[in-house]
Amino acid sequence: MLRYIGQRVLATVPVMAIVALFVFSLLYIAPGDPAAIIAGDQATPDDIARIRESLGLERPFLVRFGEWSWQILNGDLGTSIFTSLPVTALIAQRIEPTLSLMLVTLVLAITVAVPLGVLAAWKAGTWIDRLVMAFAVFGFSVPVFVVAYLLAYVFALELDWLPVQGYTPIANGIWPWLQHLILPSVALGLVYIALIARITRATMLEILSQDYIKTARAKGLGQRAILFLHALKNAAVPIVTVIGIGIALLIGGAVVTESVFVIPGLGRLTIDAILRRDYPVIQGIVLLFSFTYVLVNLGVDLVYTLVDPRIRY
């Protein structure tokens, strides 16, 4: 078991190295010469060459990559071209809204999607099942910003139940914080809910046809106990896996959702960085999100080796 965990952890190292290499190449081939920017308008080509020398920009690609990786490992993501602030500081300023949005969405999606999928599998072939499946297809098809505008229009502008936009830090109280996150989370979560509900239904259908479920029925176990104790428990691995993989959807969608609801999070930071071509910031955000994604999925893998006694390595 420990050996397996060790192997899984080690297996993420090459993946992260590739991500890092990709992100570094991004900055390497990005247009614009940092030396020229630092030198300013009055600089002669000689000045620029001297600055390039002192910054080490003339050294080979791999040497610079090694040095850059070492910086990353020490928690230094570089400096923003536009604001001259460290990228880590910029990210730290913006991380709370994004983290809140993703966590609320995650909780909402799981609590809605899993029961929905179980219900659809239980009532397979009936109109309830068809309704859930139709909802899933719609969830996949309606882009996140369309849902976002629709929700904001109905529940904020027309009905005036919830704030149209903005964000309140959690330090100002749970309810004001949550109030600002309800609409964004529903909008962001829709495609995620569709995905999880679909996988839950599919896995449950497969398991409900197993012999041990028939046995459980035969011995007179209640429907609820069969569904949630016997079936869902055995369906957990694919469901948890897709929850982990689906985080990528949340990360991509968060950028857009934050833009629609004017939430000052990492998504806004990304958009601003793109508009200003602030490569170090883009680089830092891509690295952060990708590493988080890899780590979440590593965590998912490890969790079910711990939880599911059938998995033995």
């Binding site: 910003f145 950028v255 958009i271 883009i282």
Partner: protein
């Protein structure tokens, strides 16, 4: 076979008449083959295809559908609500939203189809090589794992940040983001096909590897690849709209649905129709492609259909 006493169509089989009626596990006797039959048996295919053809029609014949120049400015007639002159209203520069939305269909469809085709072709090549050349497999798949661990939209955003916004670059950026998933899929199919007895048979008969790939492996990857390609088409359309919406996609001079929505963003609370019409068109198009994909999956891969 003499049709003596036939209990039910399902039992129309080689079984003697004395046998009890078989449950529906036998295939129906007469099935219409081909695309047309599949479309009849899977209503989602026809629904998706009809909607998609409609969009295609709109895109191709946009100049003849009562549109005006989608980039013509008319500052005097800014932000008119939908009415007789502007069917879908006009935006803050006085451009006709109806015309812009119709022309926008071109961008979405071109990006969707191009990305689906390109990423399938490249992913197929990478997957075949990876599934057949053991030496490369490890390296190629690690690279794909690395690319896959960057969320696709962020990957596309990062690539777009490097280049000028143009339709070609958008296609390229989204294609690169989609390739890892296709090559993983193809590789998996290739690896399982290589274990099949008929491939062993071909090897034993002395068929050369390129011929085996061409005749035995390739045809069997096409069904899952087609299904995957439709889903990629749908997600590419959404990604394109998102890229344009956040300002990292097609240049603002090109009317694409994402751009129209981005322009309407500042005014959406007072003039929601600017955002509304491109949103509806985008959703319908993506829905059409997804329906087509679901139908194709059911038609091409019955085992998968049972599960999902």
């Amino acid at each position: 076979m003499s049709a003596a006493v036939v209990p039910s169509p399902a039992a129309l089989s080689r079984e003697p008449a004395a046998a009890p009626a078989m449950p529906d596990i036998l295939p129906e006797v007469r099935r219409r083959g081909g695309l047309w039959g599949a479309a009849l048996r899977h209503p989602t295919i026809s629904m998706g295809a009809v909607l998609l053809l409609l969009m295609l029609f709109v895109a191709v014949f946009a100049p003849f559908l009562g549109t005006v120049d989608p980039t013509a400015l008319a500052p005097a007639r800014r932000t008119r609500p939908p009415g007789e002159q502007f069917w879908f209203g006009s935006d803050m520069l006085g451009r006709d939203i109806y015309s812009r939305v119709l022309y926008g269909a071109r961008v979405s469809l071109v990006v969707g189809f191009a990305v689906a085709l390109l990423s399938s072709a490249i992913g197929l090549a990478i997957g075949l090589v990876s599934g057949y050349v053991r030496l490369l497999d490890g390296i190629v798949m690690r690279v794909m794992d690395g690319l896959m661990s960057i969320p696709p939209i962020l990957l596309a955003v990062a690539l777009m940040a490097l280049t000028r916004g143009s339709v070609g670059n958008v296609i390229l950026a989204i294609t690169i983001a989609e390739i890892p998933r296709v090559s993983r899929l193809v590789r998996g199919v290739v690896l399982s096909l290589r274990e099949q007895p008929y491939v062993d048979g071909a090897v034993a008969a002395g068929t050369r590897t390129p011929m085996i790939i061409w005749r035995h492996i390739l045809p069997n990857t096409l069904a899952p690849l087609t299904v995957q390609a439709t889903y990629i088409c749908a997600s590419a359309m959404i990604t394109e709209a998102i890229l344009s919406f956040i300002g990292a996609g097609t240049p603002p001079t090109i009317p694409s649905w994402g751009n129209i929505m981005a322009e309407g963003r500042a005014l959406w609370q007072v003039k929601p129709y600017i955002v509304f019409f491109p949103a509806v068109f985008l959703s319908i198009t993506v829905l059409a492609v997804n329906l087509l994909g679901d139908g194709l999956r059911d038609a091409l891969d019955p085992r998968m259909a049972k599960r999902l």
